[in-house]
């Protein structure tokens, strides 16, 4: 019997956003919206939180806003990846 899909946790959404920015480099909000599969409202909320925590840096050029990953953001991705591997050993998802 397949299990019903659980809604993504805030941590999972953080990880999806940060990994998108990590993989794509300087990333526009629309690209993050598409890759992280978020509504516009949720994107604005989560991006604001990540910038406030110093994990992402917001920059501006002639074409508009874009985001870059900070060293703290990279460290947070690695911490979450390790936590994900650890909890997988006990059958926990986040």
């Amino acid at each position: 019997m397949s299990q019903p899909e659980r809604p993504r946790s805030a941590l999972r959404i953080y990880l999806d956003i940060l990994e998108t920015v990590h993989q794509e480099g300087d990333t526009r909000p629309t690209r993050i919206l598409y890759r992280a599969n978020l509504s516009h409202d949720r994107l604005v909320r989560y991006m604001g939180e990540l910038v406030a925590k110093g994990l992402l840096q917001e920059k501006q050029d002639a074409d508009g806003r874009f985001y870059v990953l900070t060293p703290a953001g990279m460290g947070f991705i690695n911490e979450l990846r390790k936590a994900e591997a650890f909890v997988a050993g006990f059958g926990i998802n986040f």
Partner: protein, 221 residues
């Protein structure tokens, strides 16, 4: 004889160190993601680590293993009751944590109650009637609880197929085998079996150490 005590003590203290490291990682990860099962795992491994360290240091201090004490005095495990009680509570904690995961959002008491059918099968009751010694009884309880933990670990691995789940499952399977051997060692009062059980238990903790090493070396590409 002294050599077996030294080897037993060293293996127990090393196993205790691994248990305490796993407990710390579970605590640290729980602070990041907040999971009920991780809280149980952290507390369980903490108790296990304290229990194993107690056994290791007690053996080193008095110069005898529990089986040797039982053979010479007839007081099976009397000096090791604290250690075995801590282990029993530790495995009960793991089993309750896994039961909580397996039985959804049931309350802890209801989840623990889900273990009762396994503990009250006629075969187990018959064994309990004969197992009058507290040490033997506790070892039997540990084996039953570990069996439940191993079954849950198998379900976890069959669901996610992760190498990390396999490492945890391997660790618990080895610890289960170790406790079956330890149970037999107190039944037959065999120091050799006791040493073998401690060694297999140490191998189980090595599997958990491998799991820790692999999971802490995962980095984003």
């Amino acid at each position: 004889m002294i050599l077996s005590v030294i080897v037993n003590s060293i293996l127990n203290v090393l196993s205790a160190a691994v248990a305490l490291i796993v407990s710390y990682y579970a605590y640290k990860t729980n602070r990041l993601i907040g999971s009920q099962l991780l809280r149980f795992i952290s507390v369980g491994f903490l108790l296990l680590g304290v229990g194993l360290a107690t056994e290791g240091f007690t053996q080193a201090l008095i110069g005898f293993t529990p089986v040797q004490v039982a053979r010479f005095t007839g007081l099976e495990g009397s000096v090791f009751v604290i250690y075995v009680a801590l282990q029993l509570i530790a495995y009960l904690t793991f089993a309750t944590g896994y039961a909580l995961g397996a039985f959804g959002k049931a309350r802890p008491l209801e989840s623990a109650a889900a273990l009762l059918p396994a503990l009250t099968t006629p075969r187990v009751i018959r064994l309990l009637v004969f197992a009058i010694d507290i040490y033997v009884l506790a070892q039997l309880g540990i084996v039953v609880l570990l069996l439940f933990v191993v079954v849950q670990g198998f379900f976890v691995y069959s669901r996610n197929g992760s190498v990390f789940a396999l490492a945890v499952l391997s660790g618990f399977v080895l610890i289960l085998i170790a406790h079956v051997v330890l149970f037999l060692s107190v039944i037959y009062l065999s120091t050799d079996l006791y040493l073998l059980g401690t060694f297999v238990q140490f191998m189980g903790f090595l599997a958990l150490l491998f799991f820790l090493y692999r999971s802490s070396h995962v980095v984003s590409a």
